[in-house]
Amino acid sequence: MPWNFDSDKPIFIQLVERLESDIVSGKYAPGDKLPTVRDLAVEAAVNPNTMQKAYGELERLGLVYTQRTNGRFVTEDAGLIEKTRKELAKKTAQEFLSRMKEIGISREEAVKLLGGKA
């Protein structure tokens, strides 16, 4: 998936969201080694300082850990990954609903559109 950014939202936040999503989707599996800051910054065409900050945030969240000489790895804590997945799903659902509201679709109609039972 190419890296596309909204220019009106901090790149830092978008990088964190993208990496979280790559971790919960299994693109980076538990225990996988992550690319270096520089390699990933070049791939995404973003500033290495911003990528560094995003990795730092993932470490703070516990999704990533650093082994001093070997680099960065994805957590093996399956519970944490699952929790992050649920949070991302919830956030995405909320974004969907608020967009629906903006265009005048009620919650019930929105759920119907998704094929669920209102």
Binding site: F5, S7, D8, P10, R38, V46, N47
Partner: protein
């Protein structure tokens, strides 16, 4: 974080016209800074002072602790907004002169990256397309392992797809603790690599801010901010 560049009270006039008026700012180590403003706002004048091409300015410049001169030029890699090489020169000859002039010039890297972009050592400068001439200039500048890179309007003639690649090449070639000052009208193409942006208007700095802060506070892109300031 250490400081790479510090300017204090820089002013310069061409006759009666003030091109730069009391400009002060610093650039920290490892930062990528965009310099923006309409034509005639003083960008190139500022850059030429930093590169030591204009000497009669008022105010002070400190680059890694030294004023502009031999010591600063040894750590500044500057690419001007016009093609600095003669049309009848071979690329190999230019690389040769750079290797002689600058101790920090990595000739092997320059050759490899140019070859990746299908610009060959035995090509003549005059035979290159506008896009390829600009790529050549950027790659030669980035092949020095400098402390401060200054690129003046580096890719106006490069097509959008190639521009994305050259931006990645710049990121790849830049040493970690070095800084980059970049002047361009193509804000949208580089805003995601910037740490900070400086807006110049009539020779004065009207804004100098971290770009992510701008997006965070106002929810608008650097291009939006630019339009708001200069429209």
């Amino acid at each position: 974080m250490s400081t790479i560049l510090e300017c204090k009270g820089l002013s310069h006039s061409y006759g009666k016209k003030k091109a730069l008026d009391d400009v002060s700012f610093t650039i920290g180590s490892g930062k990528i800074v965009g310099l923006f403003g309409p034509n005639g706002s003083g960008k190139t004048t500022l850059i030429k002072i930093l590169a030591g091409m204009i000497h009669d300015e008022n105010g002070t410049v400190s680059i890694c602790g030294n004023p502009v001169g031999i010591k600063s030029k040894a750590v500044v890699s500057y690419s001007p907004d016009i093609m600095p090489y003669r049309n009848d020169r071979k690329i190999a000859d230019i690389l040769e002169s750079y290797a002689l002039m600058f101790e920090d010039f990595d000739r092997k890297e320059a050759e490899e990256v140019l070859e990746e972009l299908e610009i060959h050592s035995d090509d003549l400068v005059g035979k290159l397309s506008k896009g390829n001439s600009e790529k050549l200039q950027i790659i030669i500048a980035m092949s020095r392992k400098a402390k401060l890179y200054i690129l003046d309007e580096p890719f106006s003639g490069i097509d959008p797809v190639a521009r994305e690649n050259i931006v990645k090449t710049i990121l790849r070639m830049m040493p970690e603790d070095s800084s980059l000052l970049l002047s361009t009208h193509l804000i949208g193409d580089i805003e995601q690599i910037l740490d900070e942006a400086i807006f110049l208007k009539d020779g004065k700095i009207v804004l100098h801010k971290p770009v992510d802060e701008m997006r965070d506070e106002k929810g608008q892109s650097l291009s939006d901010e630019y339009m708001e300031e200069f429209r």
